[in-house]
């Protein structure tokens, strides 16, 4: 019975909302749009976990199963090499396949196995190669295009990837042999820290939506008052009237859900076109977590009803008009602080308990704690605004008008601004969390990009081949200087020590003086010199004694392993004596210096004529390349040369720090998200301001009549907007930093930058300006004398 009454009244209200003429419809649509944007953002945030999880799934489904070692070649096995290359700032992932027989499994996403020398391209890579921007990359991929990689073989629609059938892989390559594609699908979607982020993000997004609904309830103030009074006049009782009013906002909220779902559906179609945090997803992978989505879908309409009922609490709707409690109850502080404290109490014990690598966290205390904290902060705002404006002294007329208005009805202002508090608090806390993560991922590499920008390495090259490689790099356009050495080893000859199964060894690098200087501080160097480089155990390297035990002036070393392991790759018969080399008596001992990649190398450095390079075993050719910054695409030209030398070569960009570009885009994302949320708040603030102005049309006109300047009233509107927003932002900064610290401590992280709130405060200031600017035309229009006319 009770339920039926509720349903009837709510439905009646909903009908008023859509059939209440143009203003009523406009109000409903405004509410729906605001709620819709909020809901869409919310759904997108709730989709993040699944989206990221789905990437991991896709990654593991398409990868070669490396969980078991595949031994012999069979018709259905293949050799493979899985490596990415960099083109400009994009990562191009590659899978090189070389079937052992005629029945290799199809790589995911392929409809047919490419023939030798052919490759399959992802659509994005195909577009890139077809465009002029891809010309340089095309040189790096010497394969015929045979087809397109389907969705199964890709992580996201914008992924750059190719799968090629090659003929140069041997079993010595690092990846080896495979027989099938597809790892086990990971079970736990994400690390705990990410869940923490998403949860906080959702809460941060949900609350402004609710605040918006609460503001929207008050849209169309006077007109709604008249309608509600009319309802009372025709016999509706007070609770019924309230329920009808709630029904009106319910209609807006439900419509908003539809709008939100629609916007979300549209937005996910674009999920593939945007790459944030290197993440770019198939629309079908953008699916909100059911629990979070359900929460949003239930919370928004229920909240719209509850909020309306609460909002009408202090309002007496009488048949002849609506009376607002003239002397509002004094706002009490204790229960607001209690909420805040309860939130903190739930969060603080988590400190240090959530680790980045952990895959599950207890989300309940995090969510409840965060929600309580944010709600507490929001409820604190009206008290703060009230307490704050009470202390403001009157200044110029504009300031006096604004302050007095706030003193008399601080609630309206506080309500509108509370959305900003939530959004700003959340943005600040999230920024802090991300900065901590960013710091984790941004470590100094020790590398020195002023010395070289690209490092290159390839196995199984002789010294002459290394020289040829160096010459090829040196010839490459855009390469200012290339320095190459071959890295072999020197062993101590003679019988093994007791209890050891291999001879002590140390690296032996051969190169010209300029190249050798990259590894050690050489006093003077001429061809024919030899140096022993000691790193003094830096970076976990061996003690100096271990090196000098093998290499010192006058010592003889073996240039091949005198005791090779039985199944070793060295094809030399075990009994043949290894070639020996005597270090010259003038060999100097020098200190190591970090090479361009930041490593302290040790061992023997020899100039070419000091050692018979023909005696060296199979060695590793290393190059570091300094680029000419004036040449466009110099790095990609060098990478092309590297790929031409050996597609399986190791190529690395040298950077001073490993800055993950991803993180700056996340920060941008948070700022964009919080800006959108705050724009939503600004919209409701604007509507409130405009309505308030319209309600005081007469007053404005009479103020103009006795000569009030336009600027006086404009400034008063500015102050009236600025004061609550400023207070709200102050609260948000304090609350956001506090929440951020607690959440960081929960993740065992340190605060990186206390100034993260500056951009958020900047946005807030921009909003003040925006709302004021947008209200001015209406203000000036209303200031015309028309308002004085009675008819």
């Amino acid at each position: 019975m009770k339920l039926r009454v509720w349903a009837r009244d709510l439905a009646l209200g909903a009908r008023f909302a859509v059939s209440g003429g143009r203003p009523g419809l406009l109000r409903t649509l405004l509410t729906a749009t605001g709620v819709g944007f909020g809901v869409a953002l919310l759904l997108l945030a709730a989709s993040l976990p699944h989206m990221l999880f789905q990437r991991e799934v896709r990654e593991s489904v398409r990868a070669v199963d490396a969980s078991r070692e595949v031994t012999g070649p069979r018709p259905d096995t293949f050799r493979y090499f899985d490596r990415a290359t960099t083109y400009r700032d994009n990562v191009v992932s590659a899978l090189l396949l070389q079937p052992d027989g005629d029945a290799p499994p199809l790589p995911p996403g392929a409809t047919a196995f490419p023939r030798p020398g052919e490759m399959l391209l992802s659509p994005a890579l195909r577009d890139l190669l077809d465009s002029p921007e891809g010309a340089l990359l095309r040189e790096r991929l010497p394969y015929e295009v045979a087809g397109t990689l389907g969705k199964d073989g890709l992580i996201g629609p914008a992924e750059l990837r190719y799968v090629a059938h090659v003929d140069f892989l041997d079993t010595g390559n690092p990846d080896g042999r495979g027989e099938r594609f597809g790892w086990s699908v990971p079970e736990e979607p994400m690390n705990a820290f990410l869940i923490l982020l998403v949860v906080v993000a959702c809460v941060v997004l949900l609350l402004p939506v609710l605040v918006f609904v609460a503001t929207a309830v008050r849209f169309g103030g006077e007109q709604r008052d008249r309608r509600l009074a009319a309802l009372r006049l025709v016999g509706a009782d007070a609770p019924m009237t309230r329920r009808i009013a709630a029904g009106e906002s319910l209609a807006g909220a439900l419509l908003g859900l539809l709008v939100g779902a629609g916007l979300f559906a549209v937005a996910r179609q674009f999920a593939g076109s945007f790459t944030i945090w290197d993440v770019n997803a198939f629309p079908s992978d953008v699916v909100p977590l059911p629990a979070l989505a359900a929460l949003a879908l239930v919370t928004v309409p229920v909240a719209s009803v509850v909020v309306t009922l609460v909002a009408l609490r202090g309002v007496a709707i009488e048949p002849l008009g609506v009376v607002r409690a003239s002397a509002p109850r004094r706002r009490r502080l204790w229960w607001r602080l209690l909420l805040l404290a309860a939130g903190a109490a739930l969060l603080v014990p988590l400190m240090g308990r959530v680790s980045v690598t952990e895959t599950s966290i207890d989300t309940v205390p995090v969510v409840t704690g965060t929600v309580l904290f944010l709600i507490g902060l929001t409820t604190l705002l009206p008290w703060l605004v009230e307490a704050g404006v009470k202390r403001l002294h009157t200044g110029p007329v504009a300031w006096q008008l604004a302050v007095r208005r706030l003193q008399l009805s601080s609630g309206t202002a506080a309500r509108a601004v509370s959305g900003i508090v939530v959004a700003a608090t959340g943005a600040i806390a999230l920024q802090m969390l991300f900065q901590a993560m960013e710091k984790d991922f941004t470590l100094p590499t020790g590398g020195d990009s002023s010395r070289a920008q690209i490092a290159f390495g390839v196995h199984g090259k002789t010294f002459d081949e290394a020289r040829a490689i160096n010459a090829r790099f040196a010839r490459t356009e855009g390469v200012a200087e290339a320095m190459s050495v071959v890295e072999a080893h020197a062993w101590r000859p003679g019988p093994l020590e007791k209890g050891r199964d291999s001879a002590p060894a140390t690296p032996l690098r051969v190169g010209d003086c300029a190249s050798l200087r990259e590894f050690a501080a050489l006093p003077a160097c001429r061809d024919g010199d030899v140096f022993v480089v000691l790193a003094h155990g830096a970076q976990g390297g061996p003690d100096d004694e271990r090196i000098t035990a093998v290499a010192r002036a006058g010592a003889t070393v073996a240039l091949r392993d005198p005791h090779p392991p039985e199944d070793g790759p060295e094809g030399r018969p075990a009994d043949a004596p290894p070639p020996l080399w005597k270090l010259p008596a003038g060999t100097k001992t020098v200190d190591s210096r970090p090479d361009p990649t930041g490593m302290y190398q040790y061992g023997v450095l020899a100039t070419p004529s000091a050692v018979d390079t023909g005696l060296l075993g199979e060695s590793y050719a290393q190059s570091v390349i300094r680029l000419d910054p004036a040449v466009p695409d110099a790095a990609d030209r060098a990478r092309n040369t590297a790929a031409a030398i050996d597609p399986t070569a190791w190529v690395k960009d040298l950077k001073d720090t490993e800055v993950d570009a991803a993180f700056s885009s996340v920060r941008t994302g948070i700022l964009v998200g919080s800006t959108l949320t705050m724009l939503l708040v600004a919209a409701s603030l604007l509507v409130t301001t405009l309505e308030q102005l319209r309600d005081r049309k007469r007053l404005l006109s009479s103020l103009v009549a006795f000569g009030t300047r336009r600027s006086t009233l404009s400034w008063s509107v500015l102050w009236q907007t600025a004061v609550p927003i400023a207070l709200g932002l102050a609260l948000a900064v304090a609350g956001g930093l506090g929440l951020g610290v607690v959440l960081l401590k929960a993740g065992g992280q340190q605060v990186q930058d206390w100034w993260v709130f500056l951009p958020v405060v900047g946005i807030g200031a921009a909003l003040i300006a925006l709302v004021t600017l947008l209200s001015l035309p209406a203000l000036w229009r209303l200031m015309r004398a028309d308002g004085l006319r009675t008819e």
Partner: protein, 227 residues
């Protein structure tokens, strides 16, 4: 009453959209006199007042005030003139609800750059003169309509204006309060030498004037009927 008119309007036209509110209205006001502007509703009474006070610029015609043509002044100049030389009383909705009554009365003085303390002291003195000094610290929402109009009259008089424009000042009041407000307004304006342009449709209110004019269909008619 033989002095030159303080305010003289000739041939005023004003239209809001397609409907003419004033069509060739003439008007003159001598210093210190109280003139009632009568006429049926919609006849253009208020529009005439708005034009005379420089709130609205007429489409045609001239308004001479104290040797200046109001229609030739800029918006800023007219605003300034209204602050210094004119006072206003409207039917309702003219007091700022957030400000106390004293602050409301002090508002025009403060707009003229007077210090807050001095302005409010003068405001309270005027409230006392209009027998509502008890409401000085109250807000407009907490006082009666009659008190509110007296506060409004105090606000109109506080700058010692030369002309007070009153648009249906008793329109929202009962007879007794209306009479009281009218006698206070006319007495105070006579004492200070302010002229009053009183728009009203009530004869009893118009009876407080020295003479009346009638606006009908946007024209001002002389009281004498020529056959």
């Amino acid at each position: 009453m033989t002095s030159a008119p303080l305010l003289r309007a000739t041939g005023l036209d004003k239209a809001y959209g397609p409907t003419p509110a004033l069509a060739g209205a003439d008007f003159s006001l001598r210093a210190g006199e109280v003139v009632a502007v009568m006429g049926p509703s919609g006849s253009g009474k208020s529009t005439l007042l708005h034009c005379l006070a420089g709130i609205v610029r007429p489409d045609a015609g001239t308004i001479a005030y104290d040797g200046r043509d109001l229609t030739a002044l800029s918006d800023r100049e007219r605003s300034s003139l209204r602050r210094t030389d004119f006072g206003f009383v409207f039917q309702f909705g003219q007091l700022v609800p957030e400000l106390t009554c004293a602050e409301n009365v002090a508002l025009p003085l403060r707009l003229n750059g007077e210090k807050r303390r001095a302005a409010e002291a003068r405001a309270v003195a005027w409230l006392a003169r209009l027998e509502v000094d008890g409401v000085a610290a109250k807000r407009p929402g907490e006082i009666s309509g009659g008190q509110g109009q007296r506060v409004a009259v105090a606000r109109a008089l506080v700058t010692a204006p030369r002309v007070i424009f009153a648009d249906e000042p008793t329109g929202a009041l009962d007879s007794l309060n209306g009479e009281r407000v009218m006698s206070l307004l006319t007495e105070a304006s006579r004492d200070t030498g302010a002229a009053v342009v009183l728009v009203t449709h009530e004869a009893r209110v118009a009876a407080y004037s020295d003479r009346e004019i009638v606006v009908r269909d946007g024209r001002v008619r002389d009281a004498e009927w020529a056959a």
